[in-house]
Amino acid sequence: MKRSNEPVFWSLFGAGGLLAALIGPALVFITGIAVPFALMNPDTMNYAHMLAFSRHGAGKFFVFAVIALFMWHAAHRIAIVLHDLGVHAVALVKFGCYGLAFLGTAIAGYTLLTLGS
């Protein structure tokens, strides 16, 4: 019997969902509301700070994990919900959703690597 690839995608879905559930609300509040609208220090996310953060090993890993896992989480859910909504081209939908998540992961990974350390 051919092995299912489902555990791989489900693990990425689960990891992304858990990460989003644990820190997502705070992350969105900080990056999208508090810093741009000066409820926190507006220099928190300035170029120098974010460059230093993304060059640091732990910071690089954090940024990569958030972007990649959020994308794989969303890709898996959207693929399944499209099926539930009557889109039965399962292979095509999965290729599109996982393909976009892979593309996002690759762009994030490549960019973070080229930022240096």
Binding site: G14, G16, G17, L18, A20, A21, L22, I23, G24, P25, A26, L27, V28, F29, I30, T31, G32, I33, V35, P36, F37, M40, N41, D43, T44, M45, N46, Y47, H49, M50, L51, S54, V63, V66, I67, F70, M71, H73, A74, A75, H76, R77, I78, I80, V81, D84, L85, G86, G104, I107, A108, T111, L112, T114, L115
Partner: protein, 132 residues
């Protein structure tokens, strides 16, 4: 033999038929906003790699009213995601036992929500402390 085709009830809008399906759809639809937020962050990383001027453009875009509305909607869906994630956790994870007693669904959900509040507070305090 009848050559009439049997009646097949349409599945269109099935998720509007009861509250359970509606909650299911609401929970799954949070993924669209999780994806959108990930794209915003990805654009930020790409702009960071293109230099200071490009990154400042991204920061400036975050200050627009449209961005504020977008992030408020995303924030609301993330809070709903957190709530629903731990709400269904008792049925997505293996059964847990303490001694001979099964850990109740309410306990699992409660621990998850408390963990999320602590994690969010910790992230907030760390960021504020680092860039005071």
């Amino acid at each position: 033999m009848s050559n009439q085709r049997p009646y097949v009830r349409s599945m269109d809008g099935w998720w509007k038929r009861n509250a359970y399906y509606l909650r299911y759809m609401a929970r799954e639809m949070t993924a669209v906003f999780v994806a959108a937020y990930a794209v915003v962050l990805l654009v930020g990383v790409v702009r960071l790699g293109q230099g200071e001027a490009a990154f400042n453009g991204w920061l400036q875009a975050l200050k627009s009213p449209l961005s504020l509305v977008f992030h408020l909607v995303v924030l609301a869906t993330f809070v709903y995601h957190t709530w629903s994630w731990f709400n269904i956790m008792p049925i997505t994870m293996p059964m847990m036992f303490v001694g001979r007693n099964r850990v109740t669904p309410g306990t699992i959900t409660g621990i998850g929500l408390v963990a999320a509040v602590i994690a969010c507070a910790a992230l907030f305090v760390i960021v504020r402390g680092t860039y005071a």
